[in-house]
Subunit: 196 residues, 2 copies
């Protein structure tokens, strides 16, 4: 019996439900509760919608939304890697690529290929859309940590310079958002969330 496109898509829709169980290190705003990947992806999508005007380049918002909505689906197999991890490279693309092929591979072939390509474009971070999507991915936890008296910065004793160096990638997508983010990071030093 031939499996229809819709049946494959429904199987995919069920499979990706699992990202609701994948906990990030970062907590919700003013909260003790860790955020999960579905909540995080939703937040990035709405952020991209409302912050698009600050992109340094003209972007295809639909492409950006696709990127942020699916960027963490690979973590169903590969797990979440802490952004400031000192033991594991955040860009563990080998393990994540296998995951992308398995999970997006549940979809009809053409659609699977399209989404793997979108995911790879995000990961590579070279196009204007990927740069802006990554800015969102960097900006949300920065805002969360700031609202949580330093959050994971304090919890894991992350030094100022590391935060500044890594978050500076926001500038690739938006100078305006980076300037704002940098001022928060500096304020974080004053408030002793970050040690210089």
């Amino acid at each position: 019996m031939k499996i229809t496109n819709l049946e494959k898509q429904v199987a995919f829709i069920k499979e990706i439900d699992k990202i609701k169980y994948i906990q990030r290190k970062t907590k919700l705003f003013n909260s003790e509760r860790r955020e999960n990947d579905a909540e995080h992806s939703w937040h990035l999508a709405v952020m991209a919608m409302v912050l698009a005007e600050h992109s340094d380049k003209t972007i295809d918002l639909l492409k950006v939304l696709k990127m942020v909505l699916i960027h963490d689906i690979v973590e169903i197999d590969a797990g979440d890697t802490f952004f400031y991890s000192t033991t594991k490279d955040h860009k563990n693309t080998e393990e994540e690529l296998v995951a992308a092929k398995r999970i997006f591979g549940i979809l009809p072939e053409e659609q699977a290929e399209e989404l793997i390509t979108v995911w790879e474009e995000f990961e590579a971070g070279e196009t204007d859309e990927a740069k802006f999507a990554k800015s969102m991915d960097m900006f949300e936890p920065l805002l969360q940590n700031f609202s949580n008296n330093g959050g994971t910065w304090v919890e894991y004793d992350v030094p100022y310079q590391k935060v500044h160096d890594k978050k500076k990638e926001i500038k690739n997508g938006s100078t305006t958002i980076w300037n704002y983010a940098e001022s928060l990071i500096n304020e974080g030093v004053e408030k002793e969330f970050l040690k210089k």
Copy 2:
């Protein structure tokens, strides 16, 4: 001191974090854990991406994504109304409109107006995009209930006819998805999830 667009947008980004605490009646797939509005909205967005080909009409996917991503933000003030509630009309637009104006009103004026308009278009359910977005909103909990041995249908003793009548709205967006959904509902009767 003039509040910049970015500052208003950041205030909005913080405010909408609250939908992560709004619990729906429906539970995650094969799960005892209730879904929250952020997870639900994320899931609808990815569903819209992968199911768009089944829309009966040509749709602007970006518009559909905006709709599903923001459609439940009003519940921060108005709360979630159970789809099969016998005491409260699901379309409590008066209370929800006040909520929409307050919450989207945190954004810069033009942007607030745009999102209120998108939300109203979704609620009215008259355009092709709104019809398809609403199909997604109907289809996800149906799949979840089916994966949970009847889920809220059994928990709240919802009769077959009510489910069939209400879910038939899926057909406004997609005949293909409705045919599939209807076959699941009928299977739900066989499995005694639904009483005829």
